[in-house]
Amino acid sequence: MTTDRPIFIPVILGTVRQGRASEHVARFVLGEVAKRENVETELVDIRDIPISSQDAGEAVKDSKFSATVSRADALVIVVPEYNHGYPGMLKHVLDTNLKEYIHKAVGLCGVSAGGFGGTRVIENLLPVLRELGMVTIFWDGNFSGARKLFNADGVLLDADYIKRIDKFLKELVWMAKVLRHGREHISLE
């Protein structure tokens, strides 16, 4: 059965900023994804993607990132809220692909220094992902007070987030399985 293939859910760390609090969040979420049975994952740090700023879109596509997204059944995007918006570099990276995203699931983990857990950046990013052809889920990860959520070694200090991310990932994996079946077996015509 082709459905026996593991679901692949890379975690995208969506900021290049020095001292980013989102890195601890991304590594925590990556660990939670990796614990799930028949699910594979890897961290995609957009800082490591060599994309020119001299053009945009598929003209500056990075083959490694493209291959990762192409293989993916779903994405987790860990996105900090900068002035209520998403990092421009994340948008620049996301815009380099198209067919790789169509009818794939995406879940968002917002990160903020304040108490709203990146809710505003999540709302801003949703229409972008919809236009890319992705399917969003109705659970989010909301990481408030990000500077105080982890110790210096990146260890999570508030265990409540484990249960919250478990609910988020259950929904994301379900959607990833449903959409894979749809992509591969349900005809548009």
Binding site: T2, R5, G57, S70, R71, D73, L98, K99, E100, I102, H103, G133, R180, G182, R183, E184, H185, I186, S187, L188, E189
Partner: protein
């Protein structure tokens, strides 16, 4: 009723599943020759592309949407 030719997965050799149509407005905006202009759907205002995925390996391929052919089967 319409029918189109199935895409074949370049890696697995099996029939792929057509699961989405995507409209590309960028080609229309940048069209420089007759061939590109003729590919623009006059109603939708862009070039329609079909997304096909392989049931064996999951690979997705795009292709310009084929002109619709009438089903000649008579009943």
């Amino acid at each position: 009723m319409t029918k189109t030719t199935k895409m074949i997965c370049p890696d697995c050799g099996v029939e792929m599943n057509h699961h989405a149509d995507k409209i590309d407005y960028a080609v229309a905006a940048a069209a420089v020759d007759v061939a590109q202009e003729s590919a623009i759907d006059p109603v939708l205002g862009g070039v329609l592309e079909e997304a096909h995925s392989c049931p064996e390996c999951g690979k997705t391929q795009l292709r310009p949407k084929a002109p619709e052919e009438s089903d000649t089967t008579q009943s």
